[in-house]
Symmetry: C2
Subunit: 413 residues, 2 copies
């Protein structure tokens, strides 16, 4: 089944690649309008999913992520319009070079081709991610979680309706319309798929990265650290720590661990505890932390590894920069790491030696985000090193094609 | 075993990443000198491989690829010196951006980390490829073919000697010192390896791409086409065809198939045959070609798919641009494709619709090459779309790290 979906996607993509930016933008704005027009049908489909999920015992944050309402649909529609307003990522060149023999070569941005997306829960992804792929001239094959099947069906149906209205092939957007796990596995091995992006929890991402033989971009798992150096401005450090932990604990650029120099632990930790405990933060500390903060829960090895995504915070006292950098090298996920210090040499060493997508000096990790970085819209945040690293804008959905204009140049004759 | 090699490589790479370009260049120039100094030992090791390969029945081009001599070593040493003279690919930034809140963010090039290389025959790869990885601050784990084990051992031994001399960790360059196939398989699944590059024949590359779960860059397989349009300058077309087929048939940017418009086939094919048959080229033609060129061998489906790497040429008569583009979409490997035409609209459509790393208009496919493109030295030619496409220079062995300089900026507080 997937081979035939891929073949249809490739054919559709060739048509999409030949369209102008204007035509692709028209698809997005038409979809933004249709989503609001068809809101009743979308919300009814979504309520089927929600009712079933409730029956299966889903609740709290997970149920909230699954549920759509008019406000969310309006925001998603506005998001599509915003993407339509972004500059066209296609066709832009990197400058012509003329070789000595007169051959002119020029690398230009073209679509990747067919993108696969495996995602969980949030049906809004079927609007956001598809908007980005259509804008960048790619076809997409979606595989959502079984819990959102009705919602995803409704939304993908609208995309296909809009594509047809605009005279473009429907198969540029296809949904794997079955909850069976075998299709996710098959998608991970679908030779010819240009890119597979997993969006969801750490378990899903780990499975895809470990199993897939098609090109994957690993996104989103952030075990982010703040290192408070002996020469830190402690007020700034508390402020940055609080922003990273309390601002929005459920996101990947939130802080999970703070590393504190022994020299200032006795001064810093009580201040941090006073401020953050008022917000409901729980400290999971090593022995030295627990000695200073009696309310702290003793940390285990697992606490250094976990992405809590909650008001929990791992706290460790370290001997200095080297120990902090070692800890991050061992437990970090290469997402966002920060230091607070006023020491020039220590700050420079931290920036140089810490291996992560974004490394901050005296600022919050919460800025690792496509909108914050001025990319406009975000495909995800890559924590791998190939192709894209950090916040991925539309350009991450393109590749380079070199065009060469000659007058009969040959190499060996 | 591989997990411990990887751990040692990571530790060594952190040291290498902290070196200056000058220090890394010194390793390359010292190695260039040592290779010539130790030529006797290297050639003796190589002769062991050659003797064994002969005993196993290897001959011709394959044996020639395996064999080293003083001239080849001298050329390889000069290659290392040339790489040392290239600009440092590390540290270069893409320009600072200052966000509205004053946070300054800057993306800079940093090493990928640990690169794996699976290669066949040519022991020179253990000089060229290692030179590029050391220059770009990466550690490398090599897995060569069993036929070159003694040669690879000797060369990797010299690299480690030079690294030690220069005060750098030897484990930046490691060889999997066993001919057992299980290690190649293990390398393809070594979680934490930042990049795996296969260098060798189509079989090796296909195996790695199909099996590997670590990030791979697919290189080198080129089923390249020349399309001779009805409005072509036929002299130019013959010249470009001959350059692509006869210049150096054993390389990936050589031509394998020519597609000829029906309208000019009767004029073009006899001229092409007259010129190329004198060079020893064999035509494998479709029915129309065979009717015009009685000496042509009838082509089968297999001929459209094959990368001959020899003086064989597949020849097909097509109805026009659409049929030519369809043929290329079906059989091409996304490497290099060319059209000869003086028709503006047809040339533009070909450049736009053909999906390949490099698309040529009135020029030979033989220019797809790192040196020709002015990159100086080449890691390989990527035929995939993620990270790198086409000739890969030193920059393809780097990734981006974003450095963010703040004064206490927070996002939500």
């Amino acid at each position: 089944m997937l081979e035939s979906m891929l073949a249809k996607a490739k054919t559709a993509q060739r048509v999409l690649a030949a369209t102008s930016g204007q035509e692709r933008n028209r698809v997005l704005t038409a979809m933004a309008a249709l989503v609001l027009e068809a809101a009743d049908a979308v919300l009814a489909a979504n309520q089927e999913d929600v009712a079933q999920a409730r029956a299966e015992g889903l609740s709290g944050a997970l149920l909230k992520r699954l549920e759509l309402d008019r406000g969310k649909l309006r925001a998603l529609a506005e998001g599509l319009e915003a993407v339509a307003r972004l500059p066209d990522p296609l066709g832009r060149g990197q400058g012509v070079r003329q070789l000595d023999n007169g051959l002119r070569i020029e690398a230009v941005h073209v679509p990747l081709g067919v993108v696969g997306l495996i995602f969980e829960s949030r049906p809004g992804v079927a609007l956001e991610a598809v908007g980005l792929t259509v804008k960048s001239g790619n076809a997409i094959i979606l595989r959502g979680g079984h819990e959102a099947l009705h919602s995803n069906r409704a939304l993908v149906g609208l995309w296909r309706q809009v594509l047809e209205q605009e005279g473009l092939p429907q198969d540029a957007v296809q949904l794997i319309d079955s909850p069976d796990r075998q299709w996710a596995t098959a998608l991970m091995h679908l030779r010819g798929l240009d890119l597979l992006i997993p969006r969801g929890g750490a378990g899903l991402i780990e499975t895809v990265v470990r199993e897939a033989t098609v090109p994957v971009i690993e996104t989103g798992v952030g075990n982010c650290h703040l290192y408070v150096h002996a020469a830190a401005d402690l007020d700034m450090a508390v402020h940055i720590l609080r922003d990273g932990k309390v601002g929005n604990p459920a996101v990947c650029n939130a802080l999970e661990t703070v590393l504190v120099d022994r020299a200032i632990a006795r001064e810093f930790l009580p201040r941090a505890w006073e401020r953050l405990s008022a917000d409901g933060v729980v400290f999971h500390g090593d022995a030295e932390t627990c000695a200073l903060i009696p309310e702290a829960v003793p940390a285990t090895e697992d606490d250094w590894r976990r992405e809590y995504l909650s008001l929990d915070l791992a706290v460790r006292v370290v001997s200095g920069p080297e120990a902090a950098i070692d800890h991050i090298a061992r437990y970090g996920t290469g997402h966002s790491e920060a230091i607070v210090t006023n020491d020039y040499a220590v700050g420079q060493a931290f920036l140089k030696q810490v291996d992560a997508a974004v490394v901050y000096w005296n600022a919050s990790t919460r800025f690792t985000d496509g909108f914050q970085f001025g990319l406009g819209a975000e495909v995800g945040i890559s924590t791998q090193k190939l192709h894209a690293r950090g916040p991925m804008g539309l350009e991450a959905l393109t590749t380079i094609k070199t065009l060469a204009y000659g007058q009969g140049q040959t190499r060996d004759l």
